[in-house]
């Protein structure tokens, strides 16, 4: 047995329960301990009396940091020992731990610091830590982490540093080095202390046979945040910066500090792709912290370098091999079950073929050009033109209206990416495929809850062929149709995120879910609000995952923020419920709706008796809310909300059919659903006459479009001659779908501007050159387009001196205005750049990477995955 004189300093912070175990282990050590001092930094009476019960001394220095706490313990010692054993209240040492370390200390006189093998407290065969080092850039690096202890690391070895938990340190060296520096970030304190010892010429080793079980309360977030000086990730960032300041050459350090903002920015996409978005914040906070504590960092560097040259540390820093092994280990995963054993998905169960049925039922919408029926208009000629008008705060109406553009524009911009040179056709294609998309969406969502593929297919078909959905298609209520098609996907992604096996995977699905919810927001703010509520309700069930899931609402919230904020500030709250002017007009429930809702509700009721009541209750709540809220439609139809209710009822029906044992009832319900679907297709399917009014993709003559593409400030005065003279003041390439504005419809007209327009139009049709020129100078008009009963006025318009005929077109007679001065395009972009930033971040999160695939389980609780 070694004869080392040791005093144990136990640093406690109000964790009496853990402290009891720790003190018990100290009392059971087979190496004599000269003195034991419990340093209670939280002043916890229970901890102090516990120390007393073991006959140990205690001190209460106040809420001080680790270095000061240990120093207080040392100061309170009755006599100076040769070594001090630093323990934490969440550390339980095995009985021979101290003796093993003491032996190691006696064998090697140059050793000044010895660390134990730290094992997980709740998994005693998993190594938590065996010595500390850093990467060449100064990032703290654990030599061994999350490995099962099979003795593979039991060879005692030199290391750069060891954790303070269980550290045995020579008191003389402690005093020589000045102890732990409390101005150093928490997670760099032990690393710095070890490195100081090293540069001072001492050895630091890990004694593998000395085992201790560490709860690691601080790292698990069970200590106050100030313990680490923020979150774990933020503490790591600070430790990284601090240690880099110590060991790197001065020019590199200066460069590093200058480049910190850039590093924070550039590394953000990386953290998103690797599904560690919270590290972005820690990177940012690390940068700010470093700049605001510059003096402290350089003072620490000076103190450190006074002890010796850091060059001696180089062999002890993590090498490439170690870094590579760590990266590989991160992606090691439990073997998944084979595809053959997994329940079939939509493709492997051959259910995907059924997805063609809803598409076939929509053949009347086969894309043939731009849809111009009702409130629809062709989209801009290119995706760029579409994009330019989306998410802006200037509406191209009269002299310009300061208001947000319709949220629906975002959806148009998204689909335009599918066919950048013909966005109108891309939109028409999305409409054509919507019901098929709805089928697969329901399949995706339902498979999270139902295990039998045929049942999932049945309810997916029942949804995609329901009268409500078919009527949306044949009635050309296209915004509602698209919202009804996307909503099941958003629900599916949300459920998937909640059920994710690990946080990386949850983040990935949050990325996908966030984007899907944003699409729903652009199509139906009401549906988005309902899904927000769904996330909140699911969050009550899984509070821990909720902290990640809540982020999924961010893209939708960012998309709707200007819209809702305008609706609130203008007092027109109803506007917030509509996706835009393209949305259909309000419509109340019909008899068909009541029959379908009644039929589905009847089958859905069975779910109460076959499935988990909490799930069923949650879904019923969702359904009731959707149906009741669909009543409120102050500006446009909320049919998509009704469809969300139908979707919920079908999920419940599927759960009932899937789990119910009595065959006759099961068959009866299935037949009922099939009959409803068949009847619906027969009555509301292809037999319905649909006229989308396919047209060309331009809304203005080619000359105006060409001029607008050269100069975006082009303005055209469109005068329609009929029973009444009506005037449009058209910006750029015309009032394409993405430029239409619901707000403009509800905005009080700028009367002064309107009067100028009226004067220009009246003077023009009257052939009054002087009057037109006067009005034109106040307005800026580059082209005049006369439509309607052209013959009535064409000769008088032609007689206006400043109008030069520019030819006839399918839109009417066009005139070029002489002496017009191009108006600069002054569009307020609002918060569009931030919105795009959010979407881009979520797109990066949504990209599947190894980090998110790791831990993916094909089977969870019997679901067909």
């Amino acid at each position: 047995m070694a004869s080392l004189s040791v005093a144990a300093i136990v640093v406690s912070h109000g964790q009496a329960e853990s402290l009891a175990k720790s003190l018990e282990a100290i009392a059971g050590q087979n190496h004599p301990i000269q003195q034991v001092v419990v340093v209670e930094t939280a002043g916890d009476d229970q901890s102090i009396s516990l120390a007393k019960s073991y006959g140990f001394a205690s001190v209460t220095p106040g809420d001080v940091r680790l270095g000061a706490a240990i120093q207080a313990g040392i100061n309170s010692l009755a006599s100076a020992p040769g070594w001090i054993w630093v323990l934490h209240d969440d550390l339980v040492a095995e009985p021979n731990a101290l003796s093993r370390m003491a032996i190691a200390a006696e064998i090697s006189p140059s050793v000044a610091i010895i660390g134990p093998k730290l094992l997980e407290a709740n998994d005693s065969i998993q190594i938590q830590q065996m010595g500390l080092t850093a990467t060449k850039t100064g990032r703290p690096f654990l030599l061994v982490q999350r490995e099962y202890d099979q003795g593979q690391h039991d060879k005692a070895g030199d290391t750069l540093s060891v954790s303070t938990a269980g550290m045995l340190v020579s008191l003389g060296v402690w005093q020589q080095l000045g102890g732990l520096d409390d101005s150093t970030p928490a997670l760099a304190q032990d690393l710095e202390f070890g490195a100081k010892a090293r540069v001072a010429g001492y050895r630091v080793i890990v004694e593998a046979s000395a085992k201790m079980h560490h709860e690691s309360l601080a790292m698990k977030g069970k200590r106050p945040r100030r313990w680490l000086g923020g979150s774990v990730k933020s503490a790591l960032s600070k430790a990284h910066l601090h240690f880099a300041t110590l060991i790197m050459p001065l020019p590199v350090v200066i460069l590093l500090y200058l480049a910190l903002p850039l590093i924070a920015l550039v590394s953000s996409p990386y953290f998103l792709v690797t599904k560690q978005p919270m590290r972005i914040f820690s990177q940012l906070s690390g940068w700010l912290w470093a700049w605001f504590h510059l003096g402290q960092r350089f003072a620490a560097r000076a103190r450190f370098r006074k002890l010796g040259s850091p060059k001696t540390l180089k062999p002890l820093l993590a090498n490439y091999q170690q870094l590579r092994s760590r990266r590989k280990a991160r992606y090691e995963a439990e073997p998944e079950i084979s595809l053959a054993d997994a329940p079939p998905g939509v493709f492997r169960s051959n259910s995907a073929w059924f997805g063609l049925l809803p598409v076939l039922a929509s053949f009347a919408l086969w894309p043939q050009g731009a849809i111009t029926a009702g409130q629809f208009a062709p989209l801009g000629a290119t995706s760029k033109l579409v994009f330019d008008s989306v998410g802006v705060m200037t509406q191209q109406y009269l002299g310009g209206v300061s208001a947000p553009s319709d949220p629906f524009g975002w959806f148009l911009a998204l689909v335009s990416l599918a066919w950048p040179s013909n966005p109108s056709l891309a939109f028409a294609a999305s409409v054509f495929l919507a019901s098929g998309f709805a089928f697969f969406g329901v399949w995706f969502a339902a498979k999270q809850l139902i295990s039998k593929p045929w049942v999932i297919t049945l309810i997916s078909l029942s949804y995609a062929l329901s009268p409500q959905l078919l009527l949306l298609a044949t009635g050309l209520q296209l915004v509602e149709l698209l919202a009804a098609a996307v909503t099941p996907w958003a629900v599916g992604f949300t459920l998937r995120a909640f059920d994710s096996y690990n946080s990386a995977r949850a983040w990935r699905w949050v990325g996908v879910s966030g984007l899907a919810l944003a699409v729903v927001a652009s199509l139906s703010p009401m549906n988005f609000a309902l899904l927000c509520l769904l996330v909140l309700v699911l969050g009550l069930n899984r509070p821990k995952r909720f902290l990640i899931m809540i982020w999924a609402l961010l893209p939708g919230v960012a998309l709707l923020y200007p819209w809702v904020s305008y609706a609130v500030s203008s007092g027109n709250f109803g506007l917030a419920t509509s996706a835009g002017i393209a949305a259909s007009l309000p419509a109340t429930l019909t008899l068909v709706d009541l029959i379908v809702l009644g039929g589905f509700a009847l089958t859905a009721t069975g779910a109460w008796f076959t499935t988990s009541s909490s799930k069923v209750a949650m879904l019923w709540f969702f359904v009731t809310l959707a149906i009741a809220a669909s009543w409120y439609q102050p500006v446009s139809s909320s049919r998509s909300l009704l469809l969300a209710g139908v979707f919920g009822l079908l999920l419940l029906s599927g759960m009932f059919i899937s789990n119910f044992k009595a065959k006759p009832l099961k068959v009866g319900t299935t037949v009922l659903l099939l009959a409803l679907g068949g009847l619906s297709v027969f009555v509301y399917g292809p037999a319905q006459q649909v006229d989308p009014k396919w047209s060309e993709t331009r809304v203005m003559p080619a000359l105006v479009v060409a001029a607008s593409q050269l100069e975006p400030g082009v303005r055209t005065l469109v005068v329609n001659v009929g029973d009444e003279l009506s005037v449009d003041y058209v910006w750029n390439t015309g009032l394409t779908a993405e430029r239409q504005s619901l707000v403009a419809k509800y905005q009080t007209q700028d009367q002064e501007f309107a009067k100028k327009l009226a004067a220009a139009a009246a003077n023009m049709v009257a052939g009054n050159s002087e009057g037109f020129t006067l009005a034109h100078h106040e307005l800026v008009v580059d082209f005049v387009l006369v439509t309607g009963d052209i013959a009535e006025v064409i000769s008088t318009v032609s007689s206006v001196d400043s109008l030069q005929p520019a030819g006839e077109s399918e839109f009417g007679a066009l005139f070029r205005v002489e002496g017009s001065s191009w108006l600069s395009s002054d569009i307020d972009q609002g918060i569009r750049d931030y919105q795009l930033g959010v979407f881009a971040a979520f797109a990066l999160l949504a990209i599947p990477t190894r980090a998110s695939i790791r831990g993916y389980r094909r089977v969870r609780n019997g679901g067909a995955k």
């Binding site: 019923w620 003041y729 013959a791 000769s795």
Partner: protein, 438 residues
């Protein structure tokens, strides 16, 4: 969960969905869009120009043997009225060519300037009275009165009253299809175009015309003969397409040579059903429906008892209509009765020195009162709903005023012949325009 808890929960769930559905049956509060009222604008209109087509044209010389020869014959008498406004020129009393009459004034109505022309033809091949309203030039119009084949002749009198060259596109609607022709008129040029070469000797045809922008004066001259006997001549102004047309002043004469015939022209791409209501004035009414094929002109005889009628023609698509009526006095003559324009407040109408009757009509569902000043006398005319009143009028002027909308047509019923003048409003766009800003 126990079954006894599940059952009420299931019932509660169904009830909540039922309640939600019931709520959705009631209408939601709605947000009304901002009201967009029209803006009234007044501006100085262009100078007002009306055009009198001038004398009749004779094709083939006096005896009809000079093939290809086309000449204006005689003089047309002009009957005009102007206010004290500035005239661009003196108005002649008679003319040997077409005459534009221009007025520079912001006040533009028939009270400011109105004119018509008459010509009594007494030639071997042309007999009767031809009269026309001097109307504003137009950029497009329809003649549904075209006549060809043996003993029927149509000549188009085209004139460009302005300085700029104009192209006129002619489109003939024939039973065999459509024929097109382009005419270019230099500034102030007049042309008389025989339509026989274009219409394949079809007895009835329609002619639509449009210009490349500038307005022209277009009048169709129609002449009939039976063997070597002239049976009438007429001048017809172009009309417009509409879904409801009113033709006042139809008179089935005791001494009518033939029953009136109606032309219905459907320029649309699909056939149209036309409802014709012949509202008898003091006698029985009649109604019939007829289908006019797409792009075709339909001719139909109106077998009616002797008496006065006002004719209402309605269809789902815009159409054109006219009625040809014949009358025997010293000579046999005919006139085309055309759809009448509605006047809002007043009409000033010059009366020629020929026996004339003014027909004032009311298309509204209630009676209206129209004041007539003629021959120094004031008369108040009460016109029943959907009816008309016929009064004899004297040279030189008739002035009508009413709080209501009314229609008017002047019929010349002299011993020398029969003609109808359809007055139109003389006004350029400019004053009191209603402009809607969208």
């Amino acid at each position: 969960m126990k079954l006894w808890i599940k059952i009420p929960l299931a019932l509660l769930a169904v009830a909540s969905v039922a309640a939600g559905s019931y709520l959705s049956l009631s209408p939601s509060p709605t947000l009304e869009p901002t009201d967009r009222a029209s803006i009234s604008v007044s501006t100085t209109p262009l100078p007002l120009t009306i055009y009198c087509p001038g004398p009749l044209a004779e094709l083939g010389g006096q005896d009809g043997t000079d093939l290809g020869a086309m000449a204006l014959i005689g003089k047309a008498k002009l009957w005009a009225n102007t206010s004290a406004n500035e005239l661009a020129q003196e108005i002649p009393t008679e003319t040997e060519v077409g005459v534009p009459l221009a007025l520079i004034s912001k006040e533009q109505t028939t009270a400011a300037i109105s004119a018509n022309q008459t010509q009594v033809a007494k030639r071997q091949r042309m007999l009767g009275v031809a009269a026309a309203n001097c109307s504003q030039p137009v950029a497009q119009g329809v003649f549904q009165t075209g006549m060809a084949s043996v003993g029927r002749e149509s000549i188009l009198l085209l004139a460009n009253p302005f300085a700029n060259e104009v192209q006129v596109y002619l489109e003939f609607a024939l039973s065999t299809g459509v024929k097109k022709h382009l005419v270019t008129l230099a500034g102030f040029e007049q042309q008389q175009i025989s339509l026989a070469p274009f219409v394949d000797a079809e007895p009835n045809f329609a002619l639509s015309f449009s210009t490349n922008g500038p307005k022209v004066s277009a009048t169709m001259q129609l002449r009939t003969s039976s063997g070597l006997t002239a049976t009438g001549v007429d001048l017809v102004s172009p009309t417009w397409l509409a879904t409801e047309l009113w033709i006042p002043g139809l008179q089935v004469f005791e001494d009518g040579y033939q029953a009136p015939e109606m032309n219905l022209y459907n320029p649309n791409g699909e056939e149209v059903n036309v409802l014709v209501t012949l509202l008898g004035v003091g006698n029985d009414s009649d109604v019939f429906e007829v289908t006019v094929p797409a792009g075709q002109l339909l001719n139909r005889l109106l077998e009616l008892p002797i008496g006065q009628y006002i004719v209402k023609i309605s269809a789902a698509q815009p159409i054109a209509a006219a009625i040809r009526s014949q009358r025997i006095a010293d000579t046999l003559d005919f006139a085309w009765l055309m759809p009448a324009e509605e006047f809002v407040n007043a009409l000033t109408l010059p009366i020629p020195q020929l026996e004339s009757e003014l027909v004032v009509a009311n298309r509204e569902g209630q009676p209206i009162t129209v004041s007539l000043m003629n021959g120094g006398k004031y008369t108040s005319l009460t016109i029943p709903a959907e009816s008309q009143v016929r009064v004899a009028v004297l040279y030189p002027l008739a002035q009508l005023q009413s709080q209501s909308r009314f229609m008017a047509t002047l019929q010349i019923l002299s011993e020398t012949g029969y003609a109808v003048i359809n007055p139109t409003e003389n006004e350029n766009l400019g004053s009191d325009l209603e402009v809607a800003i969208r």
